[in-house]
Symmetry: D2
C-alpha cells in the first residue's frame, strides 16, 4: 500500500518536514485540547527579551513527535523490536507530554490551582481523552507513567535526562531566540542512540555530542530561561494575579475577566486529590490569551495598584533584577521595602505596606544542566558495558560544570539602588 497517503506533512523551520500519521495521531492534533496549545507560548514571557521567541507549545509538540518518529525508526534499524502499538503509544505520549500546561505555565501554575504539577495535569488530560476515545490511549498512558516494564526505554524517551522533549525544545528555543550557544546537534544524538538491556544508551562515538548537549542546556539556562528580565517579568505577572485575587476576595467587581480565569480566581481549586472533571474542563479553556486580555483591560480598573502594575506590563516598564551574593539579610529586606515605599510616594502612588509589597520580591533562581544521580545518560563504552556519562572516558571533568546553579536575587523598582 502507498504509505505516502497515510501521512500529512507540515513544514517546520526546525525539522524541515513533519510527518503526521493519519488516524489517531492526526485526530489528536486537531482536538481542541491540543489545538489549545497553539495559544500557549513555549517560552512564556521569554518573548519580552527575545522578540521572535513567540512560538507555541503546539509547534514544539509537533516537532517532538517528529523527533520521536525519527528516533523509533533509528532504533528499529538497530534491531530493537517496537510493535506498531508501542510505536503509536510513544508518539501519542510525546505529542501530549505538555498538554497539561496552563497559561504562562511556570509563572502562574500555583496561582490558579493549589498543589499543581503540570505532569499530574497532563496525566489527567490524557485519561480524559482516553475515555473519550474508548481506550485508544491505553498504551500511551502506560508508557507515560512508566508502567510499561517490558520496555523501559520507551518511557526514557518521554522523560529522562536525554528525552525527546529536551532535544526539541533546546533546538527550537535556541533557534527562535537566536542564541547560538544553545544549539544542539540532535541529528548525531539520534544516530548514536540505541537500546542496551532495555535502556537508552549512546554509542561511544556520540560522547561529544552529549557533552555539547549538556553544556548547551547549561548555557540556555544562563542566557535565556533565567534571564534577568524574564525573571522580573515573571514576578510582575505573579504580583498582578495576587493583587487581583486579593481584590476578588474583598468583593471587588472586575471591569473585565475571561469566564474561565474568573472561575479559578474565585474558586481556587486544589489538585491535592484527583482533579474534578468540572475543574479540568474549565482549565482546558484557559490559555495565554485569558491572561493577556485580562492584563490589557485591567489597566482600566479602579484599583490604582492593579492598574499601575498592568500598565507597566503593557509598556514594558518592568522591574529590575539584581543578583545577590547570599541569601538576603533582614537589613536588605527592610532597606528595599523602605526605598520602594519612598519611591512610590514620590510618584503619588499608594505606598502603604499592602500596596508596596507588589513592587518588589526576593526569590531564588535554580538551574541544573544534568543530573546523574539515579538518572543520567549512559554511554556504551564497549560492546557490553554502559557507563554513566560523568564516569566515561574524556569526561571526568565535565561534572563540575553540571552542578546546580543557585542564585538569590531581588526584583525591584528601577530607580532603587541595591
Amino acid at each position: 500500500m502507498d504509505k505516502s497517503t497515510q501521512y500529512k506533512i507540515f513544514n517546520d523551520p526546525i525539522h524541515g518536514f513533519i510527518t503526521v500519521p493519519k488516524g489517531i495521531i492526526l485526530d489528536l492534533i486537531d482536538h481542541p485540547y491540543i489545538q489549545r496549545l497553539r495559544r500557549i507560548k513555549q517560552m512564556g514571557l521569554g518573548y519580552l527579551v527575545f522578540p521572535a521567541a513567540e512560538h507555541s507549545r503546539f509547534s514544539h509538540a509537533l516537532g517532538a513527535m517528529e523527533l520521536a518518529q525519527q528516533t523509533l525508526n533509528n532504533l528499529r534499524e538497530k534491531d530493537t523490536t517496537i510493535s506498531p502499538a508501542e510505536y503509536e503509544g510513544t508518539l501519542i505520549a510525546v505529542l501530549l507530554h505538555d498538554v497539561g500546561h496552563g497559561p504562562l505555565s511556570h509563572t502562574l501554575e500555583f496561582n490558579l490551582i493549589e498543589d499543581f504539577h503540570h505532569e499530574k495535569m497532563t496525566l489527567a488530560v490524557m485519561r480524559h481523552l482516553n475515555e473519550e476515545m474508548d481506550g485508544a490511549l491505553d498504551t500511551a498512558i502506560k508508557i507515560f507513567t512508566d508502567q510499561y516494564p517490558k520496555k523501559p526505554f520507551l518511557n526514557q524517551l518521554i522523560s529522562s535526562q536525554l528525552d525527546i522533549d529536551r532535544l526539541d525544545y533546546l533546538k527550537r528555543d535556541s533557534a527562535f531566540t537566536s542564541v547560538y550557544e544553545g544549539s544542539v546537534g540532535i541529528e548525531r544524538i539520534l544516530k548514536t542512540m540505541r537500546v542496551h538491556k532495555g535502556n537508552i544508551v549512546i554509542e561511544k562515538k556520540g560522547i561529544y555530542a552529549i557533552e555539547n548537549y549538556i553544556l548547551a542546556r547549561r548555557l540556555m539556562y544562563m542566557q535565556v530561561y533565567l534571564h534577568k528580565t524574564v525573571l522580573s517579568a515573571d514576578i510582575l505577572i505573579r504580583n498582578i494575579f495576587q493583587r487581583v485575587r486579593e481584590l476578588i476576595q474583598s468583593g471587588t467587581d472586575l471591569y473585565h475577566a475571561s469566564p474561565a480565569l474568573q472561575f479559578f480566581l474565585e474558586e481556587q481549586p486544589s489538585a491535592k486529590k484527583e482533579i474534578p472533571k468540572k475543574v479540568l474542563k474549565k482549565y482546558l479553556r484557559l490559555d495565554d490569551n485569558d491572561v493577556f486580555q485580562s492584563i490589557k483591560y485591567w489597566q482600566y480598573e479602579d484599583d490604582p495598584v492593579l492598574a499601575n502594575l498592568c500598565k507597566r506590563f503593557q509598556s514594558r516598564s518592568l522591574f529590575r533584577t539584581t543578583f545577590l551574593d547570599n541569601k538576603p539579610s533582614d537589613e536588605l529586606t527592610e532597606k528595599v521595602k523602605v526605598k520602594t515605599q519612598r519611591s512610590l510616594k514620590d510618584r503619588g502612588l499608594p505606598h502603604d505596606e499592602t500596596s508596596s509589597k507588589y513592587y518588589y520580591n526576593f526569590a531564588v533562581s535554580y538551574s541544573e544542566a544534568y543530573r546523574y544521580e539515579n538518572e543520567g545518560i549512559w554511554i556504551l563504552e564497549e560492546k557490553d558495558k554502559a557507563v554513566e556519562f560523568s564516569k566515561a572516558a574524556d569526561t571526568q571533568n565535565i561534572i563540575a560544570l553540571t552542578e546546580p546553579v543557585v542564585k538569590p536575587y531581588v526584583v525591584h523598582l528601577k530607580d532603587i539602588e541595591i
Copy 2:
C-alpha cells in the same frame, strides 16, 4: 563618544542582531501602541497551515527597522547624504509602517470599521503619537506620506515595489513557514542598492537578485499567502463575525465579548472621514487576542450557528476551498446552496436561508508579484542610465510571470462535491 552605549541589541533569527538606537526609537518600541503589535500575528491565520508561522507584526517591525539601518548606512557609503533627522525619520516610518493594522488584519478589516484602509489608520496613529511626543515624528510623517520632495528615495524605502517591508516579510515569512522557494537574498539587494537622481536604483550586478526576489514573491503568494486552507479559514472567521453582528443587531446578549471588540460590533464606526480620537483609542486596544478569546467563548453561545462555526475553528474543522475555472454560474451558486442546506439538515443543524449562508462563500483570490506600470524597480544599466527592470537586458521574458494571477474559488462544507 562610545557609540555602543547608544544602542540596545536584540537577537533575531532572521537578521542575527537587531540594533535599536536609544532615544525616541526605543521609546516608541516600548510604547503600548507598538507593543500591541506583539499580539497581532504577521501572517494572520497562516499558522493553521504552517504551524511555526506564529510570529508577530512586532518582530517584523523590528526586523524591518534593522534593515532600514543597514540600507541607509549602505547608501551613505555610496555618497548619498542623509541627515541625522532624515535617518531617524526613516527608521520611525519603517518601524511604524504597520502600526495601523488591526487583529487578523486582512481578514477582519472591513468588518470592524467601514471604509477601512490600514495605511490610513497607520497615519492616524502616527499623528496621534506625534502629538503625544511634541512633533518628534514630523519628519517621519512627511517621509511616510511622500511629502518630502527633496529625497523621494526615502519614501520609496517605505513603500514601493522594493520596499523594506517586503524584504523583511518575505525573508521572515519564508523562514517561519519553512517555504524554501520564498527565500530571498536580501543581503545582495541591499549591497547593490543606490540612489540615482533622487530615486532608489539597483546596480546592474544585482539584476538576478531582483529576478529572484520577484519570483520568490510570486511563489509565496501561490504557496503560502493564498493557500487554500488559509483562504477557507479567513472566510470562516469573517462569517463568524457577520453572524455575531447580526445577533447583536437583533438584540442578543453575548455570553462573553471583550470590551473593545464589543464597541466596534455595536457602533460600526466608519473611516470615511477622519477617525475620531475616541474610536482610534478603542481601536488601539484591539489585538488578535480579542478575536481568539471571543471565538473560544462563543462556542458556548445559545445561537447554534455561531456556536457551530466557532467550534469548527477551535477543532480545525475548516471548510474546503475549490478553485473554479471561471466566474461561478448562477447554476453553481444554486447547487452549492442546495447541497449545503441538505448537508446541514442531515446533521440536525439550522438549514434555512439565513443560517446556511454562513457555510459557503464565493470569492476571488488575487496576487501580483510585481507591478511595473508607474512604479517598478529600476536598474542602473550604465553610469547614467536607469531602466525599469522589465526592460533591462536578460529580463525581457520575465514580465510574463508577473501578470496578476486572479482565481475565483468557492469555500464549502467538506462533504459537498463541487
Copy 3:
C-alpha cells in the same frame, strides 16, 4: 540484523549525514579511480571568482549517492517496487556518473583527447571497473546506458531534466559559492517525486518547487557558471595548453611536466573509436594537480609566451571578457588583433601573429535552464494524467524564461578598449 552496522557515515555540510552502504559501494568509493575525483574540482576554475568553491567532484559524487538513496526510499514508500539489485545498481550509476571527467573538465576536454565526451569516458571507466569486479556493475551499466526497459525511471534519475546530479550540484554549488539565488528546495522535490507508468513524475503540490528549481538553474548559469571571469580564465588555460602543444610539436623540451600529461600532449589520442585500455589507464592518472603543477613550473620555461601566460594565471592577471551584441564583425576581429599586438609590443613581449593570438579569443556562451522538447519534467495533474511542466496550470508563462541564452563575447587584454 542490525542495519546500522551495514553503513559507514560521513559528515556533509549539504546533506548532514551521508550514509554509505558497506560492500561494493564502499569498495568503489575507496577505489583509486573514484578517490581521484578528490583531486578534480567540481566547479573547475570557479574558485577564482568564488573563493570557497573549492569542492571536488568526489564530495559531489558522495552527495548525489546520498540523494539517490533518499529518492529510492521515498519511491518505495510510494509503492514502487525496486529490487535490491536495482537499488544498488542505481546508487553505483549515480556515484560513478562523473567518473570519466578529466582535469578542469569542460575547459580542457578537447585539448587532451580528440572527440572526447565525458559520458563516453565514464562508460569506459565503468566497464573497466566492471571487468575488475567480475560483473558487479552489470545492472549499473544497464541503467546508466538506458538499457533497462523494465524501469525507465531509474535511468531518468541518472540523466534527465531533473536528475539527481543536478539536484546535488545546484544545492552544493550555490552553497559553496554563497549565491543565494541558486539554492533549491530539494527536500520538497524528493518528497513529491513518484513513478507514474514507469516514469518519474512530480505530484501537483510540488509544481512550485519545480518552477523554483528551473529558475535557480537559470540564475546559476547567469551568475556563476558563465561568469565573465570564469570564461576568461577558461580561455587562458586553453591557450596555455595550445601553446604547450605547439612547443612540443616543434620539439621543445619542457622544464617540467607530469608523466601522464606529457603522454597526452605528445600522443594526442582520439576517442572516435573505442578508447584503448592503455590510454584509459593513463587518463585515470590525470587530475587537476597535473594541470596546476605544470602551469606553476611552466612559469620558468624559456618560451616567453608560455611563461607570460602562466605567470598571468599564477597572479590572477586574467584577461577581460566583453559581451557582444552580435556575432563579431571582421572589423572588430581585426581591431582586437591590432590592438593586442600594439599592447604586447609596448610591454616588450612577442607580438607577432603566432604569439599574439594567445592573448585574445572570440567565443560564444550558451545556457539552457530547461529543455522540454522530447524530455521535460512531468507533473501529475490528476490521478492519471501527467502533463509536461510547461503545459501545466500556473506555468504557462514560464517557458519564455527557459529559452537558451546565447551570448557572443571576446576575451582580451585589460588595457584594450572594445
Copy 4:
C-alpha cells in the same frame, strides 16, 4: 567620495560577503605568494575523514581578514582610536598570518626544513614582500611581531587565546566538516569585544559566548583535528617522505618529482639561522600539489616499500590508530614490530627491520583548548576591572575542562591486534 568603489566583494559561505579594500590589500591577495595558499588545504588531510573539508588556507585568510575589518570597525564604534595605517597594518597581518605554511603544514614541516616554525617562515615571507613593496608592510610587521607597544591589542587580534585566526577557522572548519559541536557564535564575541587599558577584553554579557568558544575548540580537537584516521594518514605521509629521503640519500633516481620538492629532499636546508632568500623562493613554489602529485606517481617507483605506501594512500588503505592508556612499554613496541613483520611477510612484502619500520609508529596526541597562564581571555566584570576568564563569576568549574589532553597512540596495520 563613494566608498563602495573602493572595495571588491567576494562571496563566502561563512561570512556572506567579504569586502576587500582595493590598493595594497587587493594587490597582496593577487600576489602569487598568497594565491599559492589556494593550493594548500586548511585542514591538511582532514578531507580523508570529512569529505567536504577541502577548503584552502586562502579562503581562510580572506575570511579572517573580513573578521578583522568587522572587529576593528566595532572597536572604533566603542571609542578606540585606530589610525588608517594601523587599520591597514592589522588587516595585512591577519591576511598574511599563515603565509609561511607549507604543504600539509603540520604533517610535513620538519621533513622539509630543519628547525622549521611556520611563524618564523611567515615573518620571512612578510619581510620579503615588504622589500618588494618598498616598506608598505612596515606597520603590519611591527604589529605581527608585537613591536607595536602603543597598542598591544592589535597584536592580540593576530595571536592570542582569542585571535581572529581561531575565530575564523573554528567557524569555517566546523561548517565544512559539518561538525555541529564545533560551531561558534563569533558575531556575539565580536559585538562584546572592546579595548580596556590597551588590551582586548570581553564585556561581561559575552561570557557565555566565550565559554562556548573554548568548549567548541575542545570538541573540534577531540572530534576533528585529532581524529584517529587523520592521525594515521599523517603518519603515512611522513613515512612516505622518510622513505623517499632515504632512497635519495642512497642515490636512487626518482621516476618523478616536482622541481621544488626535489630541492628540499636533496638539500635539507635548515631554518636555524635566517632563511636564505634562495631557499625561501624555492619554498614559495611548494604547495599541496607537489606532495599529491609525487605520491601519485611514486606508486610506480621500483622500490616496493615506497610504491606500497603510496598505493595505500591513493586507495585509502590507511593504517589503524589505537589509543594507549599509558606510554608504550618495550614489550608492546617489540610486539608491534614482530607482528608487523609477520604480516608483511605473509603478503610477500619486504619485512626486514628497515622496511617494516614504515608500517607502524608510536606517537602522542596533544590538545589544549585554552591556556590561561600568562595569556588568557579577559572579562570586563565591572567598569574598571578585568578578570581572566577562569576567575570570572560562573566559570569557576570550567577550567577543569581546559586541561591539556595528552594521549599516546600507536598506528599500525589493520590486521594486527594490539
